[in-house]
């Protein structure tokens, strides 16, 4: 049986199946062309899009595999550094011993700022090989929000472990409605407006991801427990 993996729909990073041999070409392309470029006006220059992460963030991924030896690594774009993710979970499938649900995480606090790619592979030359979109790790990304999410029961084919929330950082902001009013004056001062996306919105991947995230029963945006439908709007 061929090695297979299934990526959780709640993983915060998009992956594509790309051969290791074309890594440089992939990174190059992926760093230069903004997926929403078609939505820009013809006279506008092509934009570059890469997912932003801050060094205080943790990337958490869940991957189902039908083989042993799955590897998840963060590698910089010149391949000079490979940092393995740590494994939080390896739950066997009750009906199929070789199948496992795996959760990996990487705290970015020890990572140097720069451009990175996450690589998922099985160590086989012609085996599994998925690469993430480019990630830009920095100490601080202005105008971004960290969305953390978890659920009390398995959701979207994803297992949630206590104390290990998933998170995704996106362009956006939380803004208090009726700014300047005091809590004691008006009840509605507790209402927030969440705006997601930069000048060109978010890529379709995040649109799909957020739809799934809003179904989770524990969602925080920038550490504020979210009334996830409340005041949501797109720029």
């Amino acid at each position: 049986m061929n090695n297979k993996i299934n990526l959780s729909k709640l993983n915060p990073v998009r992956f594509q199946t790309v051969s290791w041999a074309t890594f440089e070409k992939y990174v190059q392309a992926n760093s230069q062309y903004y997926p929403y470029s078609t939505q820009k006006l013809p006279q506008q220059p092509p934009a570059i899009y890469a997912q932003k992460w801050e060094m205080k963030d943790t990337i958490r991924l869940q991957i189902e595999a039908n083989f042993n030896g799955l590897q998840v690594e963060l590698t910089n774009v010149d391949k000079s550094k490979v940092i393995p993710f740590s494994q939080d979970l390896c739950a066997k499938n009750k009906g199929a011993e070789n199948e496992t649900m795996n959760q990996y995480s990487l705290e970015l606090s020890g990572i140097q700022p720069g451009c990175y790619v996450i690589r998922i592979h099985d160590g086989q030359e012609n085996g599994i090989h998925d690469l993430s979109d480019t990630l830009i790790v920095a100490e601080n990304h202005s105008n971004t929000v960290l969305i953390e999410y978890s659920n009390s029961t398995p959701e979207a084919y994803t297992i949630f472990l206590p104390g290990k929330k998933f998170s995704v950082r996106l362009e956006g902001r939380m803004r208090q409605l009726y700014a300047g009013m005091n809590d004691t004056d008006h009840k509605h001062s507790r209402s927030w407006n969440l705006a997601i996306g930069g000048a060109y919105g978010v890529t379709p991947f995040y649109d799909t991801l957020l739809k799934a995230v809003w179904h989770c029963d524990q969602v925080e945006v920038s550490k504020i427990p979210l009334s996830h439908c409340e005041g949501f709007s797109e720029l």
Partner: protein
């Protein structure tokens, strides 16, 4: 490994899967999913909408599905071979991930089951477009709730009620014909002509009254009267007890000529009397001066045995001196006969409410479903019968439908009916509302609040439809139509709490009295359904079939007022005021912040004077005194993300309320409309009826 998110099955009525093999449609008892998913499935919107009548959730579907390849072949095969009534279900299973702390895995759970509506089947090229509808019993109930079914009253589970009668009051009037009654012409013994001028009821119970013709009797008048039919009254031979007639009023006569040797005797006389006691009911007469008018006050209590007649006659006694004697009874004579009558005890067939409920569902579903009801088991002493059964006719048949059956018991017991975990249940409304274990919807947006106009009324009509009786005692009937007005003035709408089944005890008794055993006489009430309140415990078993016999329940009669004779009427349990009180939770739910106001008694078609068990029928009803409300008549709508498993949750327990959070405050409500788009769980607009526990005043300072 993770498989398909959804598996689709086409199944038959016994849950076997249709599948295609070598171009042929086959059935498999092992579940076999379709190879090709129906198109448009992603746009399917399932709406759970509260059915106002049954107070349960109905599911509706909005999108026709496009079946292709194997799905289309199966649908075409069934349609072209069996027509639009063929049954093919769409069953969708959804894959779930489970994790027990160490191991994980996948399983498919039932997600949705609906039935294809072949009435909307369209075959066009390779595609079959067809609507999905709520299948199974829900579909059948919608289609057949008003269809009248026949249930024989000699059903194997039938029971008996001992009908021992209501004491009825009756009065009739007689006057006289001004006719000279000459001894020389008519002889010694004369039956004078009287006119049976009127009666309180069009058909007097237990006694027939007549206008006797003038008649000359033989000298042996007593023997003559033993066999004559020229009487003023005849007690029904079928009576089982004597009827005591109270005869009162003035009797006037004019003496035209008088032979000094003769005397005048005016007598009431029973057909069983003898010469020896001929003067027991002798009318005292006045003087004997010719040309004078005399009057006598009649005041007798005369007891007639079954089949006995009562006569009135004149006798000229003594020896004549040759001068003729004659008198005339005068039209100013006004004799009144009053009597109490209680019809002979009879035993009538009845059915327990659950028996009827179960039979109706069986007939609606061709025997596929058996309903359940704790409440109908609890109230099995509210028996059902029909006009023909009350008349004691063999072969009596109850003709009724599910809609009327539900309405009858709902107005009395405040019920709801719906599917819970696949079983049709009729229970208290309160059992269809679970605020203790609400389905959490989390935070919601676009909250909107308004009065629930479907649940606001300015008048309430309760009781039963008006019945016109031809008996004076019918005026005493308390189970009639009663109108109340509510404090609401801005919405003009009437809440109908009239029972389709009759419960008028006097009406039931009139049918029994007037038509018992008369197999060739029709009556407008023959096909009416009736409910009779009996004792819970049978007092015996009927000798013919050993089925239980129940006494009428008269526990509320003690101390009752507002009835001429309060000890024998029955069905006081069903009085209109009691109906409202037993539905107090629902009635109170119709008023928001009006506990200090009243529901004001307006009119009653018949007897509004009844007071029984402390309940005064014509008194107004303080809203705050009613039982705790089920809900508030406030509709709250909002947009919300739908819980992933809402379909399964509602199917397993459609009685659960919803809870939601708005600006940090948690509210609860019962769904009026709850939409689900299963494919992507898009945010939907929900409408809830507010829980009575919500403090809606917290919304005053909300400005969004």
């Amino acid at each position: 490994m993770q498989g398909n998110d959804f598996l689709y099955f086409f199944t038959d009525s016994t849950n076997r899967s249709f599948y295609v093999e070598n171009g042929l449609v086959k059935l498999s008892s092992v579940p076999r999913p379709l190879q090709f998913t129906p198109g448009e499935w992603q746009n399917l919107l399932i709406t759970n909408k509260r059915n106002q009548k049954y107070f349960a959730l109905d599911r509706n579907f909005t999108i026709p599905l496009n079946a292709v390849e194997d799905g289309a072949l199966i649908l075409k095969d069934q349609f072209y071979k069996h027509g639009i009534e063929t049954i093919v279900n769409l069953v969708i299973l959804k894959q779930h991930l489970f994790y027990d702390g160490t191991e994980q895995g996948y399983h498919y759970k039932s997600f949705y089951k609906g039935e294809f509506d072949f009435g909307n089947f369209v075959h066009s090229g390779p595609i079959v477009t067809i609507n999905v509808m709520e299948g199974g019993l829900s579909k059948l109930i919608k289609a057949k709730e008003s269809t009248v079914y026949e249930i024989p009253m000699d059903h194997p589970d039938h029971e008996w009620i001992k009908m021992d009668g209501i004491i009825l009051k009756e009065g009739v009037n007689f006057t006289a014909v001004d006719m000279e009654l000459k001894k020389s012409v008519l002889g010694t013994y004369i039956i004078p002509p009287l006119i049976f001028s009127s009666s309180d009821s069009s058909q007097s119970p237990g006694v027939s009254f007549y206008s006797p013709n003038v008649e000359s009797m033989t000298s042996n008048s007593f023997n003559y009267l033993h066999t004559s039919s020229n009487s003023i009254a005849l007690a029904y031979p079928t009576n089982t007890a004597p009827v005591v007639l109270r005869i009162t009023g003035p009797l006037y006569y004019k003496l035209h000529r008088n032979d000094a040797g003769l005397g005048i005797r005016l007598r009431f006389f029973k057909s069983s009397q003898t010469a020896a006691n001929q003067n027991v009911y002798l009318v005292p007469i006045g003087g004997n001066t010719p040309g004078q008018t005399y009057g006598a006050n009649v005041n007798f209590n005369i007891s007639l045995e079954p089949g006995e007649r009562l006569f009135f006659y004149l006798e000229y006694i003594g020896v004549t001196g040759g001068i003729d004697t004659s008198i005339s009874l005068l039209p100013s004579t006004n004799l009144r006969i009053d009597y109490d009558f209680r019809q002979t005890t009879s035993y009538i067939r009845c059915l327990k409410p659950y028996t009827v409920f179960s039979e109706l569902i069986k007939m609606i579903s061709d025997g596929a479903y058996i309903p359940q009801s704790n409440v109908l088991a609890l109230w099995d002493n509210l028996k059902i019968t029909c006009g023909d059964a009350i008349r004691g006719l063999d072969g009596a048949i109850l003709k009724t439908n599910l809609s009327d059956f539900f309405d009858t018991y709902n107005v009395d017991l405040d019920l709801a009916m719906g599917l819970i975990a696949g079983v049709l249940r009729m229970e208290y409304k309160a059992d269809f509302i679970d605020y203790l274990n609400p389905i959490p919807l989390g935070s919601v947006k676009n909250l909107s609040v308004k009065p629930a106009k479907d649940y606001i009324y300015n008048t309430i009509v309760a009781g039963q439809r008006d019945i016109t009786y031809d008996n004076v005692n019918g005026k005493q009937e308390f189970n009639s139509k009663v109108l109340w007005s509510t404090p609401n003035t801005r919405i003009t709408k009437e809440l109908n709490r009239l029972s389709p089944y009759r419960r008028d005890s006097f009406g039931i008794e009139f049918i029994r009295i007037n038509l018992e055993g008369k197999t060739t006489t029709d009556n407008s009430g023959d096909n009416d359904e009736f409910v009779i309140h009996t004792a819970k415990i049978p007092y015996g078993y009927y000798f013919l079939d050993n089925r239980p016999v129940y006494m009428l329940d008269r526990t509320l009669n003690s101390g009752a007022t507002g009835l001429i004779e309060p000890s024998t009427p029955f069905n006081l349990f069903f009085s209109p005021k009691r109906m409202l009180l037993r539905s107090g939770s629902f009635i109170r739910s119709l008023f928001y912040k009006q506990d200090s106001r009243k529901i004001v008694f307006q009119t009653s078609d018949k007897n509004k004077e009844l007071i029984s068990g402390g309940v005064i029928e014509k008194n107004d009803l303080a809203i705050g005194s009613l039982a705790a409300p089920h809900f508030m008549p406030i509709e709250i709508s909002f947009e919300t993300v739908v819980p992933i498993d809402l379909i399964e949750t509602l199917e397993a327990s459609p009685v659960r309320a919803f809870s939601f959070e708005y600006l940090g405050i948690t509210y609860k409500g019962i769904p009026v409309t709850a939409g689900i788009k299963p494919a992507d769980n898009e945010s939907q607009t929900f409408i809830l009826l507010s829980s009575p526990d919500n403090d809606l005043t917290q919304l005053i300072n909300i400005f969004e």
